[in-house]
Symmetry: C2
Subunit: 321 residues, 2 copies
């Protein structure tokens, strides 16, 4: 008798750690293992061996041997079409090189199918299958973390584009002036340089350096987005204005995204959404003010309903169904 | 014996005239009729009656009665999902109102299926089925006419979005500064206010008004994009710089579009493409300069290969297959 393949493995590859979970069709995670991503230097094969061992342990721990349909992986700079990770700046074994990730991992797992996509795409799938976008066929997921990522769902399917690299909305230009900020990608004025955790800290630092306005942030040696958030919570006027500015810029960009794909909703995800109380209203107003009348007040703006630690595993695992 | 449905009717609704053609599967137009769009005032029913009569005459003229599969219509401000034309500023019978176009036309044609989409979408379908984008599954069509329109093809299908209004790229914001141009849509800084026929004339007028630079355009009472084109052909330095500026702005916006959907190609269409010799190179360079390395030099920029008068009919007819 054939055993039903009722489980999948979700893998979330981060710069420091890799999270592995065995999940069922309704999103229960029955076993979890975390391994380090960053102790293998440039040796991708050593990492992949450790990962495959951990996946097999996790399957054993969940007691579902023989019932696993496949493995879904979300990782930075990943390509769904080729199954490769290329030039991932924060991962030594995938920096300045290309790793045939899916092919190698599948071989190490005795041919178990492996699907790979970038982390923002995985988050979008997770949101569609288990989260705020459940049942939606057209939405845009924007991840506001250290950087800004995006996963775009069109007619119920993730948008990969001609080459698998669609959805780089963090690098859309929001400031075309001379004074636009330099981005890690080498260009100037990218959304990511303003509306990410790093962007928020950068805005605060810039404003402190160019004005005499009093702010509790002045006493700090280096400023993180968390510092700006805490200052805003304490009522610091400059910190509050930083989030207002960030929200407006994001809202204006979201209006342009709507003009492209006319989504039912935009779903926001990632660490910066903790500060939503300070940027939600200016963001929403600026988005609607910049939309054509056909869309004003009609595009939903939602926040992820998945816990951040589970979302990535669930998203990656959803890819494997 | 059932007669094969080997023909379709393509209808291109413009502000002044409506073009009707009977086409076969390989894009031959076997009969054509042109009627006026603009002589019916606000009486949509009178227009629809005249249109249905013309469609029946056209079918008769082509001698294909009983062999017509359906009617495809491209029109401004049209919605594929609802079959309606709403608030089309240049058509009196559809301005400040909604016309149940597909439903009414189909009834007048004895139940023949009618599919409606906006004109830029129709052009994109035409390009995919018969033109420069033949065989492509992912491309963006940008129409550079009086305004700027767009039709986006993803995985071989036209992108309609949640509500049928996707692809309003003419209204993406390209200038967020205080001095940004006011657009007909009520917002400021839309791509359409710079990279359309009207935008080109507006740029020339602005530069003439704010500088003393000599230019053959100074002698003209009012300036059209055609005037700027002819001045550029004659070597007028200001006119040449207008196209350089227009090309750069368009190229930069195209880079942002690529970051969204990662298309194989961007196809340009419409009256302004006649001046391609003056804007193609700066446009291409600016696009590539603003792309992430994964896309630099890889995204094709093509011009429509369909004659302008046929493209709209062919695109609309392709919708009916």
């Amino acid at each position: 008798m054939l055993k039903d393949k009722k489980y999948v493995v979700g893998v979330d590859v981060g710069g420091q750690t890799t999270k592995i979970g065995v999940t069922d069709a309704i999103g229960n995670i029955s076993a979890r293992i975390v391994i380090r991503t960053d102790i293998y230097g440039e040796d991708a094969d050593a990492y992949l061996k450790a990962l495959s061992d951990a996946i097999l342990s996790c399957i054993q721990q969940a007691d579902v041997e023989g019932a696993v349909k496949g493995v879904g992986v979300g990782a930075p700079n990943s390509n769904y079409y080729t199954g490769e990770i290329s030039n991932a700046a924060n991962i030594a074994w995938a920096n300045n090189t290309t790793v045939k990730f899916s092919e190698k991992l599948s071989a190490l797992l005795g041919g178990l199918p492996v699907s790979l996509t970038n982390d923002a795409n995985a988050a979008a799938i997770g949101e569609m299958v288990y989260g705020s976008a459940k049942g939606m066929k057209d939405f845009i997921m924007i991840t506001l973390g250290t950087g800004v990522g995006s996963g775009i769902v069109i007619d119920g399917k993730l948008l990969y584009g001609h080459d698998g690299f669609a959805g780089e909305l963090g690098h859309v230009t929001v400031d075309r002036s001379e004074k636009a900020r330099l981005c890690g990608c080498g260009h100037k004025g990218c959304l990511e340089t303003y509306c990410s955790a790093i962007g928020v800290a950068r805005t605060a630092r810039e404003w402190l350096d160019t004005t005499d306005e009093p702010s509790s942030l002045r006493s700090l040696e280096s400023i993180s987005s968390k510092d700006v958030y805490q200052a805003a919570q304490a009522g610091d006027a400059l910190a509050l204005r930083v989030f207002d500015f960030t929200g407006k810029l994001l809202g204006r960009s979201m209006a342009d995204f709507v003009k492209f794909s006319a989504p039912e909703a935009i779903v926001l995800f990632g660490g910066l959404t903790k500060a939503r109380e300070f940027f939600y209203l200016p963001m929403l107003k600026e988005m609607n003010d910049n939309l054509l009348p056909i869309w004003q007040g009609k595009v939903k703006v939602l926040f992820s309903s998945l816990s951040e630690s589970d979302a990535a595993i669930l998203g990656a695992s959803a890819l494997a169904w």
